[in-house]
Subunit: 328 residues, 2 copies
């Protein structure tokens, strides 16, 4: 009898395979593999469960994370985050002050992003039947581009790939907390992406965007390559790098590309608009380190190649196993 393992919650290959099996009973009516679903009337909707441990970390906490995480899944499809539902699963014995603190953090993030909380639910389960606090959010909003929905299916050979910031900030921050490493300056990139990404919707050559959460930039690259049958070539030298992430990754043997982000997106855009996209991104503090990192090509359909500084190409595979459980 197969039992669930932590790798199946990692956001990588095993998660993908598990989700395929879970969706099988739903037959034809299964969601497409994008971050948010598009409904009639221009609405977008997305849902996410957040189980991060520790509940508070440099750069954010569970309350902030659950709002950003869901709102960002809308933002990357050109949907303005407007409404939020919030479901609480809390463990008996949790100090009420902790729960109230995370609600305060969620409320401030909603206010900042112009989101209204419209529905909620609260469950308390007996001690030992949940670990502290889980929050599940659903975000809703309306698309700003009803005529031209974003999605990986729009990618064309020659398109440029842009990363809005260094990979792995959230994952490295959680890892540093978990392993009690003191890494000066390292903090999660947990942030609302809509203010950064909204202006890109004015570009006619914008193809698709994805925030790189569980499984990191590597998982998004692999999903795009496999999902579209195109090849993606990434220049390792061009990837924005954060020294804190590099030191954590180095010490723990992680690939920064497989570490989660919570405020960093990968963007596919027509080559002639790549410079304009970078310019728009760099106007916002969150996009200060945005960089063109790769290209859509035709040579290795379905594969992601990483062009290394010494001139080789290594194939980047979908992350497998679980680097770090409960990252988000």
């Amino acid at each position: 009898m197969e039992r669930l393992n932590l790798g199946q919650g990692s956001g990588g290959r095993e998660t993908q395979e598990l989700v395929r099996r879970l969706l099988a009973p739903f037959g034809d009516g299964t969601p497409e593999w994008e971050d948010c679903a598009l409904l009639p009337g221009g609405w977008g909707v997305t849902t996410d469960g957040f189980t991060v441990s520790p509940l508070t970390f440099p750069g954010g906490d569970l309350g902030k994370l659950c709002v950003c995480g869901s709102a960002n899944d809308l933002a990357v499809r050109g949907v303005r985050p407007e409404f939020l539902t919030l479901s609480v699963i809390a463990e008996e014995g949790l100090p009420e002050e902790v729960l109230v603190r995370h609600m305060g953090s969620a409320a401030r993030t909603c206010a900042l992003g112009g989101l209204a909380l419209v529905a909620g639910d609260t469950k308390v389960v007996p001690r030992g039947q949940a670990d502290g606090l889980f929050l599940v959010t659903t975000a809703l909003g309306r698309t700003v581009r009803p005529e031209a929905p974003l999605g990986m299916g729009n990618l064309r050979p020659g398109d440029a790939l842009i990363l809005t910031g260094p990979p792995g900030l959230h994952g490295a921050t959680i890892a540093a907390c978990r392993y009690e490493m003191d890494v000066p300056g390292l903090q999660s990139d947990c942030a609302l992406l809509w203010p950064l990404l909204e202006p890109l919707n004015g570009l006619s050559g914008l193809r698709c965007m994805r925030d790189c959460t569980r499984g990191g930039v590597a998982a998004v690259l692999c999903e795009w390559a496999e999902g579209t049958g195109t090849g993606l070539l990434v220049e390792e030298n061009s990837l924005p790098a954060d020294p804190g992430v590099l030191s954590v990754a180095d010490l723990l043997g992680f690939d920064p590309l497989a570490l989660a982000c919570e405020g960093t997106a990968l963007i596919g855009v027509a080559p002639e608009e790549a410079d304009r996209a970078l310019e728009l991104l760099r106007r916002h503090p969150l996009g200060a380190r945005a960089a063109r990192v790769g290209t859509v090509e035709t040579e290795h359909p379905g594969w992601v190649g990483l062009h290394t500084p010494i001139g080789g190409v290594r194939l980047l595979d979908m992350p497998t196993g679980e680097l770090l459980p409960r990252i988000c």
Copy 2:
């Protein structure tokens, strides 16, 4: 330091007070106290976390329950359930077959109710950090009555109160499982309410509806009385009763009115349309035992009175404490 207790997850008084404190940071932008929120464009949205134990019970299972529970919160506001999001929080070590079985059950319930699954999320947490499986659903749909939204604020003195079935079937069923009682014929009322309730939207005097989940019929009555400042008088003799519920309630000392339902609604309707409403309800198998159970009055504003067969009136208070954790 206040710590969370199980009573705060009961759906009664303590839940209400906790939720008020949790919503405080959201300031003016807090949801109204109805089962589903109404958004621009005639959309309704609702969210719920499901933590029921055991995962499978007579009449249903977690997969069926999570679809019915969220869809019903739309149905009682005159919103046709159309779309569902589903967030999975599973414990490492759970047999994958269990998860797949509940997905199958959810998928069948969606197919039956015409709901499409549009978004999902899957988290696996380390062994011991969650108990088996929690599912969180958000349901979405469009109202069939954009001009006349349902809500307790519509209640007027003289209105009739109708209950679509006997109180407490779900709660009594879970209690019987938990205490290993063998009660022939007893099963949860877990069901999709839209087919039963949709026809009522043709009545111009339909005021409000609520499915009586955690906290049971008693919690809904008290919320309506307190939320509107009207008095509600219920005739104990007229309440539909289920022998299985009565025997469980009797043995364990529970009030059936405080036991959860998962397919039974309380309805407020203008007195001149009460008979028509009953006729419409009784056409559907789920409404075979529907009954007019009470009246909105003005004598005891904010209170619920239960008119007993021996001629007295006892005040029905919002349930407090926790009869039974993890009922839904």
